[in-house]
């Protein structure tokens, strides 16, 4: 049974663009066209405003929580071309860093797996992707990929950290050599996969072509220990594709159409165990999908906003096993 367990009144004065739960599900960050970023404590069904962060000069499009091992850190990106990193120090939230290296709206921010360190990827309407790496003592190193996507980049999503090669334990004190990868989606209708080379430069590794219009979102599925990699993408063309790569070298990606919707699909996201994909469409609905035995994707639930006094009690049907 799916039920509403809490309703948080954010008191945003304008449209909300993103809401993100922190790692443990205890805090909620929201951002809005009213240019503010707010943080709430939502434990035990409550809602306490912890911070009302001002600093952006335009609508704020996305927020992203960093992994808790780095402390309480939140990144936000905005139409004002800036990315701001906020940090909680001694109980208060403050602006910790501002990145103004883009010529246009920054549309998406995504933190890398914590194993790589504290790294933030940012995608912008100026077509570039910038990568901010924390080097200590309040310093951030910037790497920029110019012209990653012509016209603009709409989304970035990191691949889960997988130690390459053998499973032999690295000697303690040495960092395993991770191959860092992330995916981006842009206005050139493409999804691109990027890989960090040994010299620290980022190189375009793959181009995934299947959409016929702007790619609005990409989401790399969390790893569940299987040798396959999975990426979900959605587009202005109303289609959602699931991309699978079977070999460990990451070379052959094959798309499978999840569904063709009648309207723009804006957002795709994976549940933490990667078994459910949520799709936010232009048809005012969020649909939840699960993969069935024969590899077909099945819609298991429709979350629909609308008039009504009581939320209907519904259940997620189990997937068809025949």
């Amino acid at each position: 049974m799916v039920s509403v367990i809490n309703t948080v009144d954010t008191s945003h004065e304008d449209m909300i663009h993103d809401a993100q739960m922190d790692y443990y599900g205890t805090r909620l960050a929201t951002c809005s066209s009213d240019r503010s970023v707010k943080i709430f404590d939502v434990r035990n069904g409550g809602q306490i405003l912890i911070a009302d962060l001002r600093g952006h000069e335009g609508p704020v499009w996305q927020v992203a929580w960093a992994h808790p091992m780095y402390g309480n850190i939140l990144a936000s990106c905005s139409y004002d071309r800036k990315v701001i990193i906020w940090r909680e120090e001694n109980g208060t939230w403050e602006k910790s860093h501002e990145h103004a290296g883009h010529d246009s709206s920054v549309n998406s921010v995504c933190w890398a797996p914590h194993d790589y360190g504290l790294i933030l990827a940012c995608g912008s309407s100026d077509g570039a992707i910038s990568l901010l790496t924390y080097t200590g003592e309040g310093q951030w190193e910037v790497k920029k990929i110019n012209n990653a996507h012509t016209i603009g980049c709409n989304a970035v999503s990191w691949a889960p950290a997988v130690v390459p090669g053998s499973l032999i334990d690295q000697p303690s004190g040495q960092k395993p050599n991770y191959i860092k990868r992330f995916a981006s989606g842009g206005c050139d209708n493409l999804i691109k996969l990027w890989k960090e080379e040994e010299d620290g430069q980022w190189k375009e590794e793959q181009k995934l072509e299947a959409h016929s219009d702007w790619v609005r979102d990409v989401a790399w599925a969390p790893s569940i220990g299987l040798p396959t990699s999975t990426i979900a993408s959605c587009s202005q063309d109303g289609r959602v594709f699931i991309w699978n790569c079977d070999d460990a070298s990451g070379n052959t990606w094959s798309p499978k159409l999840l569904h063709k919707f009648n309207d723009v699909v804006w957002h795709v996201s994976w549940s933490i165990t990667a078994n459910i994909l949520a799709v936010s469409g232009g048809d005012n609905k969020v649909t939840l999908w699960k993969e069935s035995v024969d590899g077909q994707w099945v819609c298991i639930s429709d979350v629909n906003k609308g008039q009504g006094s009581v939320s209907a009690s519904v259940t997620e049907g189990q997937q068809n096993e025949q």
């Binding site: 304008d14 663009h17 443990y24 599900g25 996201s269 165990t273 429709d302």
Partner: protein, 611 residues
């Protein structure tokens, strides 16, 4: 081509009815976030009043029910016991064990039902009273289904026993006394009835019973045909019932609470030695007759029918859809799997249906602040995806207290989940560093076997020492033991502290050797050498000669090394160089002290040799 039965369920989020805006969605670790938004990114939003609410939605809210918690806790114990049943056990002994497990599950359901019933009665307001009552009926339905599954699939009652079990089953669930049975038992030919129902422990074979019953049945038919009881319509109708006449039975419909009651009564009189495989025929027709075309079957009816048809998969599927949480199907399927009744279908998630359902159930438990611990055990018994699911879930448990953190760590360590241990310890270590609890940070980094972090914390310790002149958390540093080897800096920290201890105990010779070795072995970071050499001063100034000539030469070498700023291999300069003036003075003092000591040492050693 797969067909998913039925349309996907729709959840309506109560909110502002707006046809213009879309819904923004995100996953939390255990819940979902939904809010109204507009995805088309315009700088100025249209003047449409926007909804400032964010809805947090969740499935598996049942985990929060106080009473159901007992169900979850106790069934967890039964589940574990079942997994541990000796796989070697076969045949009758295995079956009786499995039946016992099934009965245990059922008694837990009944206990829960009882408690909820009490609460329902005691409820102050009618709304919650109704809610509890509906929960009671759901639990009752669950027990009804489980009981039937036990009879048909686990007990595998053969013809003869089957009807007895079904009679018990119906009696258990029908509150009112079966007045018909009471009548019959007290009526004509009681002796025949008595001997007939003496089944437990009697030695009659099924054939003998059938013959007896046939004989009795014919006798009754004879009475009817002869119109022996024509004068008494009540007795005649009774006779018809005894002959299993459906119409007659249905006339007493008000006494029959439902179709399966009707079914069993019917079987009692028309075919008491019914075979399991024939059940479904009677079941379907009983349902149809009883409903009489006036109403359609409910989900519960369909589930029971599926059971009578021995279609286990259908039973599980329908239960999954009808019930609001995975508890029932997960545990029942697991038990049936132990009875080797489930064919293995290869599902994407989990190696078979059993694992799939257990994974879903266990994931739901992780939504709860304390029930998650039960979930761990369930994941343990999911061979394919249990481990990785546990890894993903356990990292998300908020570590509000040290106790909880230790509990989580213990679970991870027991399962060799080194990545998770490292990650959790790192989170706790960083939190400790930010709160300036260096000792705590150090223990966490040692537990995480995180050399890099241990180095970082050791550096902080050393810096603290330089600033304040004393160590914090002496206990910890003194008792590092083999953990000291984790990182060079940590080893240095430990050894340095040992030097101070030795000095305090006046073991000057040992202290001196140690101090020197810290530099010559390059364990000490170069930035710390000045401090070490300064520490050597009091030893050099002692009345007795502590450093030998050779040691003094080595110390001099170290000093010159430091002064010439020759890069020493393997060092990283962290600490800032001391103030120029102070350093020059110190160096002067050191040079003097070293020279003096050298002189004294040479003399002393020369004299000893001479005599």
């Amino acid at each position: 081509m797969e067909e998913f039965d039925g349309e996907p369920a729709v959840t309506v989020i109560p909110g502002v009815n707006s046809k213009k805006n879309q819904m923004c969605f995100d996953w939390g670790p255990g819940e979902m976030l939904v809010c109204e938004t507009s995805f088309s990114k315009k700088e100025k939003s249209e003047m449409v009043p926007s909804c400032p609410f964010i809805y947090i939605i969740r499935k598996d809210v049942d985990v929060y029910s106080q009473i159901l918690r007992k169900l979850f806790n106790e069934s967890h114990g039964i589940f574990l016991g079942l997994q541990r049943i000796d796989e070697e056990l076969t045949g009758k002994s295995r079956k009786s064990q499995l039946v016992r497990v099934s009965k245990n599950y059922r008694s837990v359901i009944r206990a829960c039902m009882e408690e909820m019933h009490q609460v329902a009665i005691a409820a102050k307001d009618p709304a919650s009273g109704r809610q509890f009552s509906s929960q009671v009926s759901i639990l009752s339905a669950m027990e009804l289904i489980w009981n039937l599954c036990e009879i048909l699939f686990i007990e595998v009652a053969p013809a003869g026993h089957l009807l007895l079990h079904l009679l018990d089953w119906v009696r258990l669930h029908v509150c009112e006394v079966d007045s018909l049975s009471a009548d019959v038992l007290g009526s004509e030919n009681p002796s025949n009835h008595d001997s007939f129902w003496n089944l437990p422990g009697n030695t009659q074979t099924l054939t003998e019973l059938e013959l007896k019953w046939q004989h009795w049945h014919e006798e009754c038919e004879q009475y009817l045909q002869d119109s022996t009881f024509a004068t008494n319509p009540h007795l005649e109708s009774l006779l018809k019932i005894m002959l299993g006449d459906e119409a007659a039975l249905l006339e007493q419909k008000e006494l029959l609470s439902n179709w399966y009651h009707f079914l069993v009564t019917r079987l009692l009189y028309s075919n008491p030695t019914v075979k399991p495989i024939d059940l479904h025929y009677y079941a379907q027709s009983s349902l149809d007759l009883f409903l009489g075309g006036e109403s359609s079957p409910e989900p519960l009816d369909n589930i029971l029918l599926a059971a009578f048809e021995f279609d286990i998969h259908q039973v599980i599927k329908e239960c999954s859809i009808a019930l609001s949480n995975w508890w029932f199907v997960a545990h029942l399927t697991d038990l049936l799997d132990h009875c080797k009744l489930l064919q293995s279908h290869n599902l994407y998630f989990g190696s078979n249906m059993r694992e799939f359902l257990l994974l879903e159930y266990a994931s739901g438990l992780f939504a709860h602040p304390s029930l998650w611990q039960l979930g761990v055990d369930y994941f343990d018994y999911c061979p394919k995806l249990g481990r990785v699911s546990l890894e993903l879930h356990i990292e998300r448990i908020p570590l509000n207290t040290e106790q909880k953190a230790l509990k989580v760590l213990r679970i991870c360590e027991q399962r060799q989940m080194t990545e998770q241990v490292r990650s959790i310890c790192k989170i706790l270590a960083m939190k400790a560093v930010r709160n300036n609890r260096l000792g705590s940070a150090l223990s966490w980094s040692i537990r995480a076997k995180d050399a890099a972090f241990a180095t970082l914390v050791s550096d902080r310790f050393l810096r603290d020492y330089c600033e304040r002149g004393c160590f914090s958390d002496l206990d910890l540093i003194d008792n590092l033991g083999p953990a000291m080897m984790l990182s060079d800096r940590l080893t240095f920290l430990g050894k340095y502290r040992e030097f101070h201890r030795m000095y305090g105990e006046k073991r000057f010779a040992d202290a001196a050797s140690l101090l020197l070795s810290l530099m010559t072995s390059r364990i000490a970071p170069r930035s710390f050498w000045m401090t070490l050499l300064t520490d050597a001063l009091p030893l050099l100034e002692q009345k007795q000669v502590i450093f030998s000539a050779e040691q003094t030469y080595e110390l001099m070498q170290c000093l010159e090394d430091l002064m010439s700023r020759r890069p020493v291999r393997g060092e990283s300069d962290i600490q800032q160089l001391q103030d120029e003036d102070i350093e020059t003075t110190k160096v002067e003092m050191l040079r003097l002290a070293l020279a003096r000591n050298l002189a004294r040492a040479i003399i002393r050693e020369g004299s000893l040799e001479g005599s």
